[in-house]
């Protein structure tokens, strides 16, 4: 199970109650090459894949905290090029890397907001000029070729530069795919399963280490441990020593 746990079969528990924003957007028919199942809103079918993956839908009615709707759609397409959903399993899309990035741009990464705004517009302008449609409406080959151009600083108007933006975006996409699910990405632990990371353990025995990636993935977030949460006020703050010192 552990080895191939990245490939998930249908999980009844994960059936959504609502449409996700992403699927709503895709349902509007602006996804270009991506073939999106319209029969079940819960299903996102990887475009290049004979298999389909069900992912749980996020709670409905989520705000875009930093991105505009078009920026979010462009970013979905870019992240799907970077870590694709493909025959090897889910990618950034199922991990909801864009949801992570949007939230991070409103908080920890807010200094990067400007570079996203400028660069995503530049990428769409370039797509429009060279291919006649915004980036997110292009077929995958054309998207990939534009992204290569961004990486090599050949797409004008990116900030701080093409390669600078590409590297930042790549890092953020990885962060959103492989960080703790608390932050809004790595949904259903698809990132950790992808690279066979067996999960957060507060202790790892010699036997468990020897098993390595053969360990059963435990699908634990750091914040499944009450100790680290706001709930844990009853835990004694130890070893400050003495009294009256603060």
């Amino acid at each position: 199970m552990a080895k191939n746990s990245g490939k998930k079969d249908t999980q009844p528990d994960d059936l959504p109650h609502n449409l996700s924003r992403r699927n709503l957007l895709k349902g509007a028919g602006i996804v270009g090459a991506a073939a999106v199942g319209s029969t079940a809103a819960s299903q996102v079918i990887a475009q290049d894949s004979p298999q389909s993956y069900q992912v749980s839908s996020p709670a409905a009615l989520e705000a875009l905290e930093a991105l505009t709707a078009e920026e979010a759609e462009t970013l979905e397409a870019i992240c799907d090029c970077l870590i694709p959903s493909d025959e090897n399993g889910p990618g950034a899309k199922e991990a909801r890397a864009v949801h992570y990035i949007d939230r991070s741009l409103a908080s920890n990464n807010k200094d990067s907001r400007h570079n996203y705004m400028v660069s995503l517009a530049a990428i769409n302008d370039y797509a429009q000029k060279t291919r006649g449609a915004p980036f997110y409406q292009l077929i995958r080959d054309h998207q990939n070729s534009i992204l290569s151009g961004v990486q090599m600083s050949k797409v004008p108007g990116c900030a701080p530069s093409g390669s600078g933006f590409f590297n930042m975006l790549r890092n953020h996409t990885i962060d959103g795919t492989f960080s703790d699910p608390y932050y809004g990405g790595n949904q259903n632990f698809v990132g950790w399963d992808m690279i066979r990371y067996p999960g957060i353990r507060l202790t790892a025995s010699e036997t468990e280490v020897a098993q390595g990636a053969e360990l059963e993935p435990n699908h634990q977030s750091a914040y499944d441990n009450e100790t680290y949460t706001k709930m844990a006020r009853n835990i004694r703050m130890s070893n400050r020593g003495g009294s009256g010192n603060a």
């Binding site: 990939n144 703790d180 790892a204 280490v209």
Partner: protein
């Protein structure tokens, strides 16, 4: 006017690795100590196993006052200095909260680089532009203090030389020690075993390195749980022997240490005779003057230097203890860069482990090998360790097998996320003319004080060591079955670093050193300086244990000579 507080015996500026140790022998001697700390208290609850928060976003150091005080960096005085990251930490425990906790003694050669080189190869082998001096004492003088700290703080490791008896399971090149470490070394792992076996086949001497981490129940603290979130995080079970969980609570329990948190020292006050009278600090929106008989400066190397440079007075118009113009000189950033990367054909099982759980090779460090036919002095300690987490694993090098995105890349990381390793190679680094710290003329901290400006670059000696050590590391990886190895470049500018040395160097010559052999100022005798800023050489290994041994020694000297020093 600052609000004047009741006098205390000793003020320690900074309750970190150095100040947190010095407080214990002082308070145990009945001396009243006020520890002034810019940060607050953290607890194990604050250290979730969260790679994003701690590893990528550098919580909590990024949100501390130190973030506004990061030094600017340039390679030479002709370059523009740019502000970047920083390794400093504001918290009780300081950098011992989030460090790797590798806790080495320097080797005997590191104390006598000049005379050791002269005796074996001739004086001409010391680089002409280096300002390196022998330490004012040898390894033997510091040995008892290494011992005290190893037991007081709690260090695990395998001794290699106990009273002359060599144990090949430990470092056979280490100086003679009085006794074993208080705890056995951290356990090995499948990967470290693989590397140890390969080193033995090369006829090298692998050993598990020392760590300020409990390998067994020690002093009421549980053993390491090997969960893998040690680097850049504090320990969730207090196994990391931070001063916040060891010496500082003990000093507080003595009744003689008062820790003032979220207080920033902005000036060391001196009288017209050049004696230090106390410190000014800001807490909240108030400024206080804390009078003291003795002031011990124990912040990070950059901040030690900056505080002296900012503390100008009638007696010290160019900054405190700087009438000889030596504050900021003899600076060096330890050359820890130029890593070698390896890719293996099978999983290494490194998902649970820590940077201090590793295997060291000291055969190519210091003067442990013949340099007769080589064009450098000193060398490097080679270190491989466990510690792998998902985000950083996904950002691994593709070793030229794939571009770094797309389906091909995804297939690469799915196969190789647990098959890459990056070595940590620490190299002898020397002080040079032209490498120094001063106050940046343009960049200010949020209070309006200039930040430190680093002007420094590695020279030929460091680059030649880097090339030599990279070849050795490549040899080691290949022997252990790696299929691909990448050697990175030799390095150039010395950035702001976790291993910063010098700036207030220790030595008997007051024309070339700021503090004497006991760590007290040549110019202001009741000012002591603790930290790596007093160290004149780096060795090829992490500085913290040496910093702590020196801090204990300075504190004990002060306690033993209180009457004559304070008088």
């Amino acid at each position: 006017m600052p609000k004047k507080l009741p006098k205390t015996d000793v003020v320690i500026v900074g309750m970190g690795a150095a100040g947190g140790v010095a407080a214990l022998p002082l308070s145990n001697a009945g001396i009243k100590v006020t520890g002034i700390e810019a940060g607050g208290w953290l607890s194990p609850r604050d250290f979730a196993p969260d790679e994003l928060r701690n590893g990528a976003r550098n919580w909590p150091q990024s949100v501390q006052k130190a973030a506004g005080e990061a030094p600017t960096v340039r390679a030479t005085s002709n370059d523009v200095a740019v502000q970047g990251g920083h390794p400093m930490m504001n918290a009780v425990g300081g950098t011992t909260m989030h460090y790797w906790a590798q806790s080495w003694r320097l080797n005997p050669w590191d104390f006598r680089v000049v005379s050791g080189t002269r005796e074996r190869y001739g004086s001409h082998r010391v680089p002409a532009d280096s300002t390196v001096e022998d330490w004012p004492f040898g390894y033997e003088e510091l040995e008892p203090y290494y011992d005290k700290v190893e037991y007081a703080v709690g260090i695990s490791g395998q001794a290699g030389n106990v009273q002359g008896a060599i144990n090949p399971a430990g470092n056979i090149f280490e100086g003679e020690r009085l006794r074993d470490y208080p705890m056995r070394p951290l356990r090995s792992s499948p990967f470290t075993d693989l590397m140890s076996e390969a080193a033995h086949r090369l006829n090298w001497n692998p050993f598990q390195g020392p760590a300020a981490i409990t390998s067994e129940l020690y002093d009421g603290r549980p053993p390491c749980q090997y969960h893998g979130f040690c680097n850049k995080g504090g320990c969730h079970v207090r196994s990391k022997s931070s001063t916040a969980f060891t010496t500082i609570p003990k000093a507080i329990d003595s009744g003689n240490l008062d820790v003032v948190t979220f207080a920033r020292v902005v000036n060391i006050v001196t009288d017209n005779d050049g004696k230090v009278t106390g410190v000014d600090y800001i807490k909240g929106n108030e400024t206080f003057f804390q009078p003291a008989d003795v002031v011990l400066v124990a912040s990070y190397a950059y901040e030690n230097v900056r505080l002296l440079q900012l503390s100008k007075s009638r007696a010290f118009p160019n900054g405190l203890s700087n009438n000889a113009g030596q504050v900021g000189k003899h600076y060096l950033s330890h050359h820890q860069g130029s890593p070698v990367l390896a890719l293996y054909p099978k999983d290494l099982h490194n998902w649970y482990g820590l940077p201090a759980q590793g295997v060291a090779i000291d055969n190519w460090a210091d003067d442990n090998f013949d340099h007769g036919d080589l064009d450098f002095i000193g060398g490097a300690n080679l270190w491989v360790h466990t510690d792998r987490k998902p985000m950083s694993a996904a950002k691994m090098s593709t070793f030229g097998e794939s571009r770094n995105w797309g389906s091909e890349w995804k297939a690469f990381i799915m196969e190789n996320a647990d098959r890459g390793n990056t070595s940590y190679i620490q190299k002898t680094t020397l002080p040079y003319e032209g490498n120094y710290l001063d106050l940046d003329p343009l960049v200010k901290d949020p209070l309006g004080f200039p930040v430190t400006r680093i002007t420094a670059r590695y020279r030929e000696n460091e680059k030649r060591i880097a090339a030599f050590a990279s070849d050795k590391m490549e040899q080691w990886y290949l022997e252990a079955g790696a299929t691909k190895v990448i050697k990175t470049g030799p390095g150039n500018a010395m950035g702001a670093t976790t291993h910063a040395y010098g700036g207030t160097r220790m030595g008997n010559n007051s024309e070339t050193n700021v503090v004497n052999q006991w760590g007290f100022s040549h110019e202001a005798p009741n000012l002591g300086i603790l930290g790596a800023s007093v160290m004149g050489t780096s060795g090829a290994r992490n500085p913290t244990l040496t910093v702590q041994a020196l801090a204990w020694r300075s504190a004990e000297y002060l306690a033993n000579n209180w009457r004559s020093m304070v008088g």
